[in-house]
Amino acid sequence: MKKIGRAFYAYMSETMKGTSKAFYVFIAVLGVVFLWGSYNWFLMLTRGHGLSGLSDAVPWGIFISGLALFIGLSAGATIVGLLIHGFGREDYAPMGTRAILLALLCIFGATQFVLVDLGVPLRGLKVPWILHNPTSIFLLSSSSYYVFMVILSGELYYTIKTTLGKASHRDEKIAKWLGILAVPYALWVVHAFTGSIFGVVKAREMWNTPILPVHFVISALASGFALVILVAILTSKIQKKELLSAETYDHMGKLLAFFVLVTIFLDFFDHFIIKYSAKKEAVEVWEILTSRYAPVFALNISGLIAAFIILLFKKGRTTKGLLVATILTLLAVLAYRIYLISVGQLVPLYPGMGELYYHPTFTEISVALGLIALLTFLYLVLSKILPMEEKYHRKQIIDKRR
């Protein structure tokens, strides 16, 4: 036991060598935010979920938006995996392990967002195993998240083995095929069925459209890839080294531009048909979107268009332009997730119900921020501890031998 402890300490002290003070301070801040969030969740569990801004008329809020957003963000790994293993773009390799780690944490975060939303969370843990209803989309989606977590963990394990240079030929092949197989699985099962959670609800005019699963897949690709690019840029800025070449950034920018363009296309037709059909509920959806939710709606549309315009130019596909474009894309997709969930429910089911409202409370936002802090914390620490790049570690090994 002592031996393992000592080995762990040695490993930690070696991997954490050279970390600046700012890193520890940032980690401490994240820890405080996480603790504050968990305290607020504890309050919600013991005092009541009435501490959130939800009501019987609007039963789903920012937690479910968080679920949709984080499921979407996990799409980044699938694209990077496909590019590396399927299309042979070896220049993406420095982001390979990071993308998988990001995706794994994002999907973990998404499940945590559901967990904090549940009225009886521990019983909720039984869901795909002991309690299950085959007709529920929640069963399909939740079990698909668990399977996706297993696939990503396998990918991560074998990729790290490859990175460390300990992998056999078979291991490398497994990593490759997991990376390729994850693509249809993630797009078909994980993202499309997350969209179907809302798409199958015939009671809500805004959700009940066959475009929604497709929309979720495409906006997941846009936001997930944007997150990978953002992390690549930030990592190279902070660690002061070139992770990816300028040519790779250019290629990334082009791909992101394509995803953003398709998202704009789907967004346009989704809202165009809502506006044009002029059903009673559709009119109300449009009214809420353009009045109370106008800022969020505008953030989605303008953010996507601005990101696309930036990405059109060759200068926009450098690190600086990409930094702005990815942040805009992420904000736009976040805005879409927020207003899709809220406005979908804010349309009264009976004309006589009066004006429904949903304002997320401080407690609710604290819990959400706490979860995001936890994910950031886990990413920062794990990306430090786990070997992320082949070259870096090979060089270290060589240094050690000398």
Binding site: L45, T46, R47, G48, H49, G50, L54, S55, D56, A57, V58, P59, W60, V114, D117, L118, G119, V120, P121, L122, R123, G124, K126, V127, L131, H132, N133, T135, S136, I137, F138, L139, S142, I197, V200, V201, K202, A203, R204, K280, Q345, P348, L349, Y350, P351, G352, M353, G354, E355, L356, Y357, Y358
Partner: protein, 294 residues
């Protein structure tokens, strides 16, 4: 003099904190895992289904006077805490008679002060009571991930409170806004508790049960019992001689949101206005409704 050094203090604080938080947390955790400690939804409260019977309700809109007595009686009967609002039954005031499509006009919710029209029947207003429709093809039952919501063969859509995880998917899926979530730990005065109905815990979803504890024991629902103008009728649709079957055959009727193909089990009659008062008693005004700006 130093009574406590730092280490001792931290240890003591940790023990005190654990003493405060852990019992409650462990108790709650155990309860959530086993599920049936305090909120049994089992056979004690829900009698077994009656064979060859299909229950349903008929509401005559010409007779509903908007007194909301059913709302209050339902709350009492079903141990609905005051923290749950609106109650299982909502009543809307409308300007014009309802069309056969089930859509009604003039949005105005009752509750701005008391509206009691017992002596004089209002010819210009119509009242629309809505509650759980106990649909044959209930969307809430389809989407429930745990089978906590289930349909019984005699026409009830019920919830097993020991299986509900509180995900509220059923609430978003219900086109009738019939479901209520226990946002707080329910507090009901002991003298008000109905022993036939379980007390739900914080974190589970509940709704109208068509008073399953009464109807399966041969009684009628509480809302039917208290309606002073006899607007509601409850009965067996499989029996062609029952009152409800006769009403549906004889009168023009509709069901709410039939285009969604949920096959609700509450039929609405559109007969002319009529008064046949049995009795009345004044009622308190309703409280504010969570999530709705009045």
């Amino acid at each position: 003099m130093k009574i406590l050094d730092r280490r001792k203090f931290i240890k003591l604080a940790a023990v005190a904190g654990a003493g405060v938080f852990i019992p409650r947390a462990v108790g709650g955790a155990l309860e959530q895992l086993t599920g049936t400690l305090k909120s049994p939804g089992g056979n004690k409260y829900v009698p077994p289904p009656i064979p060859d019977v299909k229950f349903g309700m008929v509401i005559d809109l010409g007779l509903c006077i908007g007194c909301r007595r059913c709302m209050y009686a339902c709350k009492r009967e079903n141990n609905v805490p005051d923290t749950i609002s609106p109650p299982y039954i909502m009543i809307f005031e409308t300007e014009s008679p309802v069309g056969v499509t089930g859509h009604f006009l003039s949005p105005e919710i009752p509750g701005k002060g008391t509206t009691m029209f017992y002596q004089k029947l209002r010819k210009d207003k119509w009242y629309m009571p809505v509650q759980c429709n106990h649909c044959d093809k209930a969307p809430c039952v389809e989407v429930c991930p745990t089978k906590a919501s289930y349909t019984d063969p005699d026409g009830f859509v019920l919830i097993d409170y020991s299986k509900c995880i509180g995900c509220r998917y059923c609430m978003t899926a219900c086109p009738y806004n019939a479901r209520r979530f226990n946002w707080w730990e329910p507090e009901i005065p002991p003298d008000r508790i109905n022993p036939l109905v379980p007390i739900r815990k914080h974190g589970v979803v509940e709704k109208c049960t068509f008073c399953v504890h009464r109807t399966r024991r041969g009684m009628t629902t509480r809302c039917v019992e208290v309606c002073p103008n006899r607007a509601r009728t409850f009965g067996d649709f499989n029996n062609p001689k029952s009152e409800v079957s006769r009403l549906i055959r004889a009168e023009r009727n509709f069901r709410l949101k039939e285009e969604l193909n949920t096959k609700p089990r509450i039929w609405y009659l559109t007969r002319p206005k009529k008064k046949r008062m049995v009795w009345y008693r004044p009622l308190p005004p309703p409280t504010g409704i969570r999530g709705v700006r009045l």
